[in-house]
């Protein structure tokens, strides 16, 4: 039964993919201009080119590395700030507006302002943290604030040690908030890092390559990079979820 469902699912995904590729091909044939819409073949050729070129592989490694670094810093910082804010209301009152500004400020404004006084190599990670931190923070802080009172009463009655409250209660109750936050920031971090790379033009990075392809009107190369980014983002999200949905083994 399980095998049948999986087969069914695979067929469904293949059919949906074929449908969208057909739509793209029809558009390509209708517009008939490789600068506006390049053919699927030329995009695939560009993808192969990218993966056979050492320099371009370094670009991928740099962008993915920045994404992982930016997301990790955001997650760790968000957890620390959220725990402090959840336990001290007046600190939360101070942090709230800062997070709201970061959350609502257009990323392009932050990038341009930061470009004036930051190094192009560091900028993508910093902007990624600035964009992802408030999302992760909101998820975790509201997770902590929404902990059911009965669990807090339980901690009080049984006089449970802080160490156990963190390692058991918080981990088990905040896990869904954490997973949802990370899933959101994986996609956002890629977008922000590439947008920053396009504007800051560091030595290596997918953004720089996309900028070059735009400059020389190489749309097929630009779309090839886009496909790589989407696939990388989906793969990271998939493997994260596979890891995160494994039951947490609490180590005390």
């Amino acid at each position: 039964m399980k095998r049948f469902i999986m087969q069914n699912n695979a067929i469904r995904i293949i059919l949906i993919t074929i449908f969208w590729l057909l739509i793209y091909q029809m558009l390509y044939m209708y517009i008939d201009n490789d600068i506006y819409i390049p053919s699927i073949q030329s995009i695939l050729k560009e993808i192969v080119n990218i993966f056979t070129n050492k320099e371009q592989l370094i670009d991928i490694i740099f962008t993915v590395g920045r994404m992982i670094m930016g997301s990790t810093i955001s997650i760790i910082a968000a957890i620390i700030i959220a725990v402090i804010c959840a336990s001290t209301t007046y600190i939360f009152d101070f942090v709230k507006p800062a997070m709201a500004i970061l959350k609502t400020a257009p990323s392009i404004v932050l990038i341009i302002i930061s470009l004036i006084w930051l190094d192009a190599e560091d900028l993508p990670v910093i902007i990624c943290v600035a964009m992802c931190l408030p999302i992760m923070f909101s998820n975790i802080v509201y997770g902590i604030l929404n902990i059911d009172k009965v669990h807090l009463d339980f901690v009080k009655v049984y006089n449970i040690k802080k160490k156990n409250v963190y390692s058991y209660l918080y981990i088990s109750l905040l896990k869904p908030y954490f997973i949802s936050g990370v899933n959101t920031i994986i996609g956002i971090s890629f977008k922000v890092i590439i947008a920053t790379e396009i504007l800051a033009l560091p030595k290596y990075g997918i953004g720089k390559r996309i900028y070059d392809s735009k400059l020389y009107l190489k749309t097929d190369e630009m779309l090839a990079w886009t496909v790589i980014v989407i696939v990388a983002s989906l793969l990271i999200e998939k493997y994260f979820n596979k890891f995160a949905t494994k039951r947490v083994k609490v180590i005390v």
Binding site: F154, V157, Y158, N159, I160, S172, R247, V248, V250
Partner: protein, 191 residues
């Protein structure tokens, strides 16, 4: 002995306890009965120091308490064994805790569920784990809010036998009058 004198407790406009006077005898089983919403859980929460009274006086209420809450207090995404370690890990050494958990799980016919996740337990099983947690916690007073809810007849019997064996102050709220009559040394009806 715990003495409650002229206790008043309200939530907003709703007066839950109005001038309650009560004496709870040491090492006896006191059962609290009464209609739903009459204030049984509020009274137990006051005795467990979870809720504060609006006025009145409680004498001799500084005890170590174990409490079986009416609501689900087990940790989600967590194994049964870790739910025990969560509250008892700092109290017993590893070996003793292991022995105690095994003994009580066996007693409540849950031995095979030791490494099961909470989500895979039925309502009755969750209730049994909550009861075992409270029984294993070294306390002076054991408070149980509707402990027989979700338990089948056999489990009710096992719990009654276990409670009768314990030599500590036990306070139970229940709707099950037959069980209350069977187990209680003192019965308090809230009106």
């Amino acid at each position: 002995m715990i003495l409650l004198k002229n206790i008043y407790k309200s939530y907003g406009e709703e007066n839950v306890l109005k001038g309650l006077n009560l004496e709870i005898r040491e090492n006896k089983i006191t059962c609290i009965i009464g209609k739903s919403g009459i204030g049984k859980t509020t009274l137990l929460s006051i005795l467990a120091n979870i809720e504060q009274i609006d006025s009145g006086e409680i004498i001799n209420n500084n005890h170590k308490i174990s409490f079986v809450f009416q609501r689900d207090t087990l940790l989600p995404n967590t194994k049964v064994i870790d739910n025990f370690k969560y509250i008892l890990g700092e109290i017993y050494d590893k070996e003793k805790l292991g022995t105690l958990i095994d003994k009580y799980l066996e007693k409540f016919e849950m031995a095979e569920k030791k490494y099961e996740y909470k989500e895979n337990l039925s309502g009755g099983m969750v209730q049994r784990i909550k009861i075992i947690q409270a029984l294993l916690y070294p306390s002076d007073i054991l408070i149980l809010d509707e402990p027989f809810k979700e338990l089948d007849e056999e489990m009710k019997e096992i719990l009654v036998t276990e409670l009768k064996k314990i030599n500590k102050t036990i306070i139970i709220s229940s709707h099950d009058l037959d069980l209350v009559k069977n187990i209680a040394d003192d019965i308090v009806e809230l009106k």
